[in-house]
Symmetry: D2
Subunit: 333 residues, 4 copies
């Protein structure tokens, strides 16, 4: 059965999901809502769906599932509204920037036996999936160390930082999720160091732009996350897993892979300069996974609990930086 | 203005083009025709277009352009039919396997002042385009040598070979076109050597499976094409251009780019195993170019004459092999 | 003037240095000493030099400089003996495993105005030197982050671990020196996490086999060191430096660089499996630097103080692990 | 038994061989001869050997073997002189530029039952050897196609070209030998195309600077050689072998392997800019092979006949270019 979708939010990520739903033979885009009517109408025109209000979508009998791409501070309320309305929910990360609000929201989801999937898109990147598949196939033996390098092409607008929740909640949260995905074991301790090196204005926002985090699991596995808000050469997204039998790593991606050789050396083009082009395939694959899950094929994973755990690790990292010490996840859980 | 399309042929390449048309905001898929009604109906259902016969499409006032994906032996007739009907025509290569038939067909196109673009998809591959762009930007100086390595993952069914026109007309033709695209100068001589190494059955079909060709231009530039019908490691598609100032090369593409390191070494996955996944982006880009051309933006290139030239070079290569000598293109033109 | 050398210790690293001295036109190998006469005699025979006792070498008027390759616990005593004897001294790392002993030894060197160079060979690796040269040339702007991955091919014999001083003093010490070499600024804090993942026997020796360390400088620059005692794919030695303007990285080295492509993928051979083959060029270059320094051309660097600092950072790392917190270098300096 | 060597010619390649002999525990450099006494004396001083005339070396009872590094036009005479004197002979390529002279020389060697090895150094490059070893190990199945790309960093002095014998005898001859090494089967036909693209002055010397050659064997295996006298990015030396089971290729070599990433892309340094640094290891290995052969361990290969065959293929290539046709080796053999 084709799943009938309502899309909440017609911004740039909303457009990505609209296309993914349309291109999936198992799904149909029925309606779109946005605070800006023009944005909703553009999507409606392109894909032949209706424009409805959020409340209308919640009340629509011809809608099975929704995708929430609205601003972060509306996520938790909308999740609750739609699970109560009996719709399956896919929500962009994060559920909320406040740990207690996330917990309360997940309690509602559980009470309603709702279906909730959180948009940690990187788990669906074909290269990272292939790394995970190699681990599962035993290619590198028992996992021991994970090294994640994750650098943005450039600093977002300073005014954005203030409402981002800070680098750990906004940026590292993806890497925390990737760490859990690769380690295959829950995190026990968090040790973080943070600096402002890219732009002094970051400091005035109470944020950092350059951080390193060491995670450990109960069995002693370790993961290092290395983040910077600026990589002039593009969106640097690498994952490397060392096991007892070897290593598996995902290489960086670039839009074109040519090489020019001159007396100055051999030059390949920079990496992608934008997360949406870097993760094009991942966005389509995560929606396909959600559609399959709603159709009863497989789990709606990553779950709300995965979303909660990402935020929790971010809180631990902040505490570690503030107190110059290793923080046990159990202190904040 | 959105260009209104009729699709002739609903096979695997037809599906690719149907998707490209639908995803392009400047185009609309109006109708599809196929000898097998079920195939046409599947596309019609997925994209919301009509099923019509070929003659109906030729007579349709709501159709501006057609894409010809039918069997090779129908191409020339359909091109003539549709240019006479005043439709812009995109035709999969080759126009025909017979040189005279191609010339006659192009005469009709010229007489009708028709728009005809031929599907040499590789010109639209982002990596090869980037190579060409580097040449145009002067990154490697004056072009001197082009090296094209083009190997299929495996031999097609032997029964296909008989109607393929042989390796030069079926496979090398793409490389002849790439050579012209990169050299930026017409070919003057063709020298080819051919063997049967992959499967003795190829010989019984009067064909070859392993060939090398050297092309020269009037100014002495050279191009080497190296073909094999079998590369166990995947679809090997490399182009390298040496100029007075340096070299530019397009790397091979693989579906996932990870690396597994063990005591046995560092292993990356094989290349794409199929031309349709290798050239996904190229197919979309060539249709976008055709749409733009019909809309008056840019040329419908590669043209029918490009298609003719590819076939002509294949004929020269065959003659070169038969006579163990270098053949001037002027002998056959 | 050709520098006349005495070699103390005729083991495997002694042989490497004997060859480096002989191949350098500015140097001459005059005598060799070793507790095992046969080892000394083998070198003497191959390179045509004399066998003498350590005391004879100290008293030899025809010796300008010595290379100390004897067991670690003799280093500090020999350094003192030879600087007092007026010889220039090159000593393999570490000076001693005890911080106070190192300090006392360096006090003697200073009092005698002796020349002392410490064998942190990696600074002389042509690839790491090229990274440093790019930083100096401004290719990546201001240094912000250094990422060092350093993994041994396999665990040394467990009995060795007991006298090694532990992973931080034995293995990470090289990376601490590399961090200082690349950061170009002294380390302010050390935060380390350590596990036993490779072999439980490591734990019984009170040691670790898998560690991650974050270093920070006063200005907030960070360095991550990731160590494992086991990398089945060979000796993994990578350095990557992120700056305000870009990144520069040294690739891993392998004895042969071929690639085999089959249906199983593209495989390159493992890395070097031994530090002596990996750092062949570095060993020759460090001795050449020492010879030049003794000849008055350039500094005898890395110095005894560099050796001290490496050990100090190892102590800080141990304390960090023991106390689960960030340790300021000033606490132990 | 250590082989006692006489070195004929103390130029740059003579120095390379002097070092190789000295560093080999199985050999001893006894004497050196050169038309320029100062050149011979420099080597004698550095390695502690005698200076003698060529005739004295031929008459020396304490000399077992000679290395001929004198000008090309003396090679054949010296080979004859020394095999008659009962010395094993290693001779730099070519034996002579004249096919008949080579044949006559080899007849003398055979008559004297002399030991003659020819300096096709590339067979001893560790990367190319590893390619051959993979073929021998069956990693790629039956060899079908060999692709050799061989480009010099820059045109030699024009005055050199006149006495070089032309590009096929001077440069491609190495690739002809590599083709035979990799194909493992004798060449049956030669088809070549040649241009002057780098410098018009090359034409005035009756030479070419840009050539492509297709070789075939009796069983239909093919090899393509692509040569240019100019590659701004360094000494480009690649070999790729396609077999029924896969492909094996040797990558290019560079002095340092770092990568700098900025907004302009990812840049690695150029390749080696000189054949002597590119083939450092190969030169040492070929002399070691010769020493072993004189000591009765293994063959003195490549042999004089290998040298003859390289020249013969060059003659065939010249004829192919002149006559615009495929030439059978049997026409000239």
């Amino acid at each position: 059965m084709a799943i009938r979708f309502g899309l909440l939010g017609a911004g740039r990520i909303g457009k990505v999901h609209a296309k993914a739903v349309t291109n999936d033979a198992e799904a149909q885009l029925v309606a779109v809502a946005d605070a800006f009517p023009a944005a909703a109408e553009a999507i409606a025109a392109q894909y032949g769906c209706a424009v409805r209000s959020i409340d209308e979508i919640a009340a629509s009998a011809d809608i099975d599932a929704v995708i929430i791409c609205t601003p972060t501070d509306t996520h938790a309320d909308l999740i609750e509204l739609f699970v109560k309305a009996g719709k399956a929910v896919f929500c962009e990360k994060p559920i909320d920037l406040n740990l207690d609000r996330v917990k309360a929201c997940l309690a509602v989801v559980r009470a309603e036996k709702g279906v909730l999937m959180v948009g940690f898109n990187r788990r669906f990147d074909p290269h990272f999936r292939a790394v995970r598949a190699q681990i599962d196939a035993g290619a590198v033996g028992a996992v021991e160390m994970v090294n994640i390098t994750s650098r943005d092409p450039g600093l977002p607008p300073i005014e954005y930082l203030g409402r981002s929740g800070g680098i750990f909640r906004d940026m590292t949260i993806h890497d925390f999720d990737m760490a859990r995905f690769m380690l295959g074991e829950e995190i026990d301790t968090v040790t973080a160091r943070a600096s402002v090196l890219v732009d002094p204005a970051v400091k005035t926002e109470g944020d950092f732009d350059s951080v390193n985090v060491i995670l450990t699991t109960t069995s002693g596995k370790q993961c290092v996350i290395s983040n910077s808000r600026r990589a002039t050469y593009g969106y640097d997204q690498r994952v490397e897993v060392l096991g007892s039998g070897g290593m598996v790593a995902a290489e960086n991606q670039r839009p074109v892979s040519i090489e020019v050789a001159t007396a100055a050396g051999f030059t390949r083009p920079p990496l992608h300069d934008f997360f949406m082009t870097r993760y094009t395939e991942a966005y389509a694959a995560e929606i396909a996974t959600f559609i399959a899950a709603v159709n009863g094929k497989g789990a709606a994973s990553p779950s709300g609990e995965d979303g909660l755990m990402g935020l929790l690790l971010a809180e631990c990292a902040l505490k570690s930086v503030a107190e110059n010490r290793t923080v046990s996840v159990s202190e904040l859980a």
